[in-house]
């Protein structure tokens, strides 16, 4: 089996993101920072190390951040929807939450903010409470699946950031939501 020498390249984005706790820091660009680990890999036929191609201006195709944005990857999905007045993560979202828990486990420097939301009926502050209960619920599931507690912050936006503004159940359902965001995405 041929060893491949990309791990150092891909970790740059995450290291850049967690080198600071400031939320407005963007992940460091992947440009040119990757170097092959000496002796980590050799080609039996040529004796030369393979060359890792780096493209500037966009994440490496193998970056965990690219995985997070790849529409074909389950990790690109971030929203968990809830029933009215409920905060249990429904079975249909279990695979999604499991995938993110696995990502957090495998990328210990990754940080996540979970923003819980509520529909706009009733008190704004009670809705902050409902949104918090939803984000706490997602966080609890992630930590039970092996993510570290200090990787995740669960907060609430209450009813303040609706994605849909009509007064009907379809719309309210879209707003009863927990969104999982990684550093640099909020």
């Amino acid at each position: 089996m041929r060893a491949i020498t990309y791990p150092l390249i891909i970790s740059v984005a995450l290291l850049g993101a967690c080198a600071t706790t400031s939320e407005d820091q963007k992940p460091a660009p992947t440009e040119s920072a990757g170097t092959s680990k000496p002796g980590a890999s050799t080609s039996p036929t040529t004796g030369r190390e393979p060359v890792a191609k780096v493209e500037t201006g966009k994440p490496s195709a193998t970056s965990p951040f690219a995985v997070l944005k790849d529409p074909n990857n389950v990790l690109s999905k971030r929203s968990v929807y809830f029933d009215y007045d409920k905060f249990e993560v429904k079975d249909e979202y279990r695979k999604l939450v499991e995938a993110h828990a696995k990502f957090l486990r495998e990328n210990p420097s990754a940080k996540m903010l979970i923003q819980g939301n509520a529909d706009d009926r009733g008190s704004r502050e009670y809705n902050v409470g409902l949104g918090q209960r939803r984000s706490d619920s997602v966080k609890k599931m992630l930590t039970l699946l092996g993510a570290r507690e200090d990787q995740i912050e669960s907060v609430s936006l209450g009813e303040e950031k609706p994605v849909c503004t009509s007064a009907n159940e379809d719309c309210w359902g879209k707003n009863r939501r927990g969104d999982m965001l990684y550093s640099g995405e909020y």
Binding site: E23, L113, Q115, R121, G122, S123, R124, E125, Y126, V128, G129, L130, G131, Q132, R133, D136, E153, S154, V155, S156, L157, G158, E160, K161, Y186
Partner: protein
């Protein structure tokens, strides 16, 4: 319906500067005191005239009816003799006369006297020295004096209100006179602002801002715009409530899991837990005597109002009817509780008499939020939705009188009526 006397419709549109809150009265008490507010001699130098503002204030209260007066010659002032029989023949129960005089320093003197026409005797008067830009607040103070002398309770015309305006994706925390005029922006943000509350001295607002992509509590001094973080712990920080001493706030933090009540000093120090539950505990409010904290909790399965001793202790449930009772606000005299109740799917303002346990729904709207007592306890300011837009509304504590405050553009929400200030 509660609006037994709602047929008396009176429109009192104030000057409609752009985006200014305009007030429309949609109901009034049956017994309104007829009063003659005579234009103050010389007030034309201060348009629209001090007497115009005084009259609008008094009429907006629903307790007074300003009389239409013919031009009087000579113009009476505070030193004129009052012909009680003549005022009686105009059906006035009370009359205000006075004058405005420019001073050499560029400011103005306003002097006025109030007379009881029925008892045929002077009630009193005051004099103010003020700069031109203080014309409105001076008029409000005159209206407060008249109101207090004739009704026996303090007027609130010179108090201020705070509220949030949303236009597109822009949020502004604004402060205005109680009549909606003279609004100023304290904070502008591209993220939501909720839950403003006035410090007891009327100089600071605490509020929740989402500018850091999560709820964080700030205290903001209005005069100089300086603000500081009171609570920015891991998780959500929301629902601030001032203790009557103005030095501490009850807040809701999720830093230890769930939404739970904590106390914190106004400078952000000294965080300590107030209560523990497995439910959502939120919307704390102190009783005016500081002895109790009322709050919303769903520890019993549905959101209801509870109270607990401010020093700590066992919470007691306060509301029992219905499955959704939130946003407790105690009246300034501590005797009644205003809150939002869900009534057949409509969210409405209710008032609970804390001694008789009788509750009464005061509004007929569907999306009421954030009730706030006027400092004299007579009116309750609230946010509601009208024609798809957020507007402010006010209802008298007896349910008879209603007012609507709206702006030309944008949603208005999260009202908070400020305290009396000297």
């Amino acid at each position: 319906m509660l609006r037994t006397f709602g047929f008396a419709v009176l429109l009192a549109w104030l000057s409609l500067a752009h985006a200014q809150l305009a007030i429309e009265i949609t109901g009034a008490g049956a017994q309104r005191i007829p009063i003659a507010i005579v234009p103050l001699a010389g007030e034309k130098v201060l348009p629209p005239g001090v007497s115009t503002i005084v009259r609008a204030d008094l009429e907006r209260s629903g307790l007074f009816r300003g009389l239409e007066l013919p031009p009087l010659s000579p113009e009476p002032n505070e030193n004129s003799n009052i012909n009680y029989a003549e005022w009686r023949s105009r059906l006035a129960d009370a009359v205000v006369v006075g004058s405005v005089t420019p001073r050499p320093d560029g400011r103005f003197d306003a002097n006025f006297r109030l007379y009881d026409v029925v008892k045929q005797k002077p009630i009193g008067g005051l004099g103010f020295t003020f700069a031109k830009e203080q014309t409105r607040v001076t008029a409000h103070r005159i209206a407060d004096f008249v109101y207090e002398k004739l009704t026996g309770e303090k007027g609130v015309f010179s108090t201020r209100i705070a509220y949030v305006v949303k236009r597109g994706n822009r949020y502004e925390l604004q402060v205005a006179d109680a009549d909606g005029a003279g609004q100023e922006t304290a904070l502008a943000s591209f993220e939501p602002i909720i839950s403003p509350v006035w410090s007891p001295d009327g100089k600071r607002l605490a509020y929740v801002s989402f500018e850091n992509k999560k709820p964080v509590i700030y205290v903001h001094t209005l005069a100089d715009g300086k603000r500081h973080v009171v609570a920015n712990f891991k998780g959500s920080n929301s629902a601030p409530a001032w203790a009557p001493d103005g030095n501490r706030l009850a807040v809701v933090l999720s830093r230890e899991g769930g939404s739970q009540l904590f106390m914190v000093n106004a400078d952000g120090s000294g965080v300590r837990r107030l209560a523990s539950s497995t439910g959502i505990d939120t919307e704390p409010r102190f009783s005016p005597d500081g002895q109790w904290i009322y709050f919303t909790s769903d520890r019993g399965g549905s959101p209801q109002i509870y109270r607990m001793p401010a020093a700590g202790g066992e919470p007691q449930r306060v509301t029992f009817e219905g499955s959704y009772n939130v946003s407790p606000r105690i009246s300034p005299d501590g005797k009644t509780l205003a809150y939002i109740t869900r009534n057949s799917g409509k969210f409405q303002v209710a008032l609970l008499d804390l001694s008789t346990r009788q509750a009464q729904i005061l509004t007929d709207s569907e999306h009421d939020e954030s009730p706030s007592f006027s400092p004299n306890g007579r009116m309750i300011l609230l946010a509601t939705v009208l024609g798809g837009r957020g507007v402010l509304s006010a209802v008298s504590a007896d349910g008879r009188m209603k007012q609507r405050l709206s702006t030309a553009a944008g949603d208005v929400r999260e009202p908070a009526w400020g305290p009396f200030v000297e």
